[in-house]
């Protein structure tokens, strides 16, 4: 009897221990499998965009890709579907695609471009949004990073914190990502009681949620203004670029140079209220910084901050439909069409114009927009 009871106890203990081991093993196996095969599961927005991008490439394999990456500003403001046909110098049509990501800053932009390259998608041109406030602080992208992104993250000073965030987000993945897993394995069992897992994008990657809403009432607008002010006002008054974010920006630009991808740096539209938050000192530092990037990486800067009137915004820095149309049309006409046609002053591998520009002093390589910007800087510097 005693032996039998001891046997039962041993079996119970073994069951518990094996259960714990098995649960841990299943979690690790699941995380590895998802990380290696379906990065979009932990980052649904990226997953949806990359699926759309693959579909467009499959439809038009002959078209060279013009990729625009950045934050929700560009996600809401850039409407590739509204562009006139972009033709390369040899008459081919380019494929413009909005590759933005909510909350993206330098680190997330870099992570997303690296992911695309790993997946075999190499853009022919890259328009990289620069959010000045995003150079001061960026929320760690480790929560949506996958295993393949870790070597990139590991090169930063925030390694321990990022790894901790990564691991914390991997705890209990079956529960935390159940909706995404079910949509892959058993779609009828998906229950969408909230919209957090639901990413709604248009075929060319622009965001359907933010700007299609034209029904902003005064209260909602006031709330959004207060939010933007809370996040950006102090950053823009006392502007200091985070060295980690500077490094991420430079690494992405270096990577693009290595891959022969011409890059344009883009400052996206802001309303007059938002622009008033910049101090003169901030404008100067930002201008110097961007000019430095342009000089080192041959990436021209386009300052589109004042391209859209205040009535084109749904909050101080996100465009509504009307504003997005204005911005997209001008961006296409003044930047994207010349860029894909090789007529934009850029130092790409095939651009003879750019090679010529190599030999010119950096100030002369400025895009008119950055020249405007420099003029404004001078005026600001003269102010008491």
């Amino acid at each position: 009897m005693t032996t039998r009871r001891r046997g039962r106890r041993q079996q119970a203990r073994a069951d518990v221990v094996w259960g714990l081991i098995a649960f841990a093993a299943l979690q690790i196996a699941f995380v590895l499998a998802i990380d290696l095969t379906r990065p979009g599961l932990f980052d649904p927005e990226y997953g949806v965009r990359v699926r759309l991008l693959r579909e467009r490439i499959r439809e038009h394999p002959e078209r060279p890709l013009l990729l625009v990456v950045g934050s929700s500003r560009i996600g809401a403001g850039f409407m590739p579907g509204e562009l006139s046909a972009l033709r390369t110098a040899d008459g081919r049509l380019a494929l413009p695609f909005n590759g933005a990501h909510l909350g993206a800053g330098p680190r997330l932009n870099r992570m997303e471009v690296r992911r695309l390259l790993r997946e075999g998608i190499t853009p022919s041109w890259l328009v990289l949004e620069v959010v000045p406030g995003g150079l001061v602080h960026e929320v760690s992208p480790a929560s949506i990073a996958v295993l393949g992104d870790l070597p990139g993250l590991c090169r930063y000073n925030t390694l321990a914190r990022d790894l901790l965030i990564y691991l914390r987000c991997r705890l209990n993945p079956f529960y935390n990502h159940r909706q995404a897993v079910l949509s892959l394995l058993a779609a009828p069992f998906v229950t969408r009681a909230d919209s957090s897992d639901h990413v709604s994008l248009l075929p060319l990657g622009d965001d359907d949620n933010w700007m299609r809403r034209e029904d902003l009432d005064a209260e909602m607008l006031a709330r959004r203004v207060a939010e933007a002010r809370g996040v950006y006002c102090d950053r823009l008054r006392d502007f200091h670029i985070d060295p980690e974010l500077d490094r991420a920006t430079r690494e992405l630009l270096r990577l693009c140079r290595q891959k022969g991808i011409p890059v344009v740096l883009l400052l996206t539209p802001e309303d007059s209220r938002f622009r008033s938050w910049y101090s003169a000192e901030t404008e100067k530092r930002l201008g110097d910084y961007l000019e430095g990037l342009q000089r080192v990486y041959r990436a021209p800067v386009v300052d589109a901050r004042a391209w859209v009137g205040d009535d084109g915004f749904s909050d101080p820095h996100h465009l509504r439909l009307r504003g997005a149309r204005v911005f997209t049309e001008r961006l296409g006409r003044e930047v994207l069409q010349p860029l894909v046609a090789g007529a934009f002053p850029i130092d790409g591998p095939d651009s003879t114009a750019a090679q010529a520009l190599h030999r010119q002093p950096s100030r002369q390589r400025c895009h008119p927009a950055i020249a405007d910007h420099a003029k404004r800087l001078k005026t600001a510097a003269k102010r008491p």
Partner: protein
Amino acid sequence: MLFCTQKFLFFFLGVFTVYWLLPWHRLRVWLLLGASYYFYASWNPLLAGLIFLTATLDYTIARALEAGTSPRRRRALLAVSLGANVGLLVYFKYANFFLDSLGDCLRSAGVTVPLPVLSVIVPVGISFYTFEAISYTVDVYRRRIPAERNLANFLLFILFFPHLVAGPIVRARDFLPQVRRRKHWNWVRFALGGRLILLGLFKKLVIADRMALLADPVFSDPTAYGTLVLWMAAVAYAFQVYCDFSGYSDIALGTAHLLGYRLAVNFDMPFAAANITEFWRRWHISLSNWIRDYVFFPLGGSRGSAWRTAGNLLVAMTLCGLWHGAKWPFIAWGLLNGVYMVVHRAFRSWAERRPRLDGLLQTEAGTGLRVALTFLTFVLALVVFRTGSLSEGAAMLGAMFAPQGGLASPVPPLCFWVTAVVVLAAHLLARTEGAWRLWERLPSWLHGFGLAAFLVVTLLLAPVTSQVFLYFQF
């Protein structure tokens, strides 16, 4: 604090760890008492204090009952205890219902009297712990159990957090000896507790909460849906109620096991019952037993004439309905179940006099038919239980039997059918002894992986929004 939330997980892990690290038994009792008080106070600290006070009153009265010899004095003490417990229950749970009903009666008689509406919060689980306290004082009064001498032990009997808010309704004779006994770590118990918690989570998250996604919208507007969807919703609600409540009971039993306590089993595959009497022996067993012991038997049980027995059954089951809440649909549901039981008793005695029919009913096919009929009657009664009023219940039952078109199912029908198959398969598997023996023969690593896979499925299939346990409202 819900059982299937992260907050409870951390709370329980803390209590569990400290509990088994403490070397002193008395300190463990005090720890559980403190944890139970905190558990209840996380809803409402004032009401937690109220339970504390009423439990202390019951403790004192029970001591006096035990010491007393004068029958009159003892009866008076029992009346005080019952009055306090039932009085609080009526005040918190039924006062507004009675006032409303009185107002309706007076209005229909042409008298308009302004009656007050009490602004009270119903304490969570009041019906459960009140019945536990009543059973204790009645048992002490009947001298079936001795009065507990240690106040902390008695308070733990009432407040023990696994059963505090939604049962099972424990009896003092089962629980108090366990409080006194020193607990030793036991792997068998630990494994059993873990399995029960796992099973409870599966029932709650995967079946009950998913079925709520079908039942809730349909019951909120039954006229908008087609007949088939109404039937699906009615069956879905039956699954939801069963898995929600039995899932809670399983988690309660499991957590109690992890702390070295054994609570009464509350459900025993009720949908496999072949008649309504058997159903009530398998459904909410602790409440059924309580009503049997403290209502049905004192009324005379089934010892009298058939009519008297029928009357007793109707009274007992109506009280069972009223226990669920202060609403006419609950009372009608209890009465309906009483009628089912009376009809079943009459049919059984009629069939027993016809051996051929009785033999047919005992065959596999006959049993299957009886199980299906029992389930159907339960589902129909639940329609009355779930709807907001008797007229809504009647309207939905009418629509279920008079084919009508309407909206499609609010969730993919595949979800419903898969769930139905899972519930059916679980009932069949539980009746098969071979399945359990086969499971026991499997090696430990396979047990471990099986349980881990079961947990993974539970986590994956949990809906985005979790529902509060249904029986918290009772």
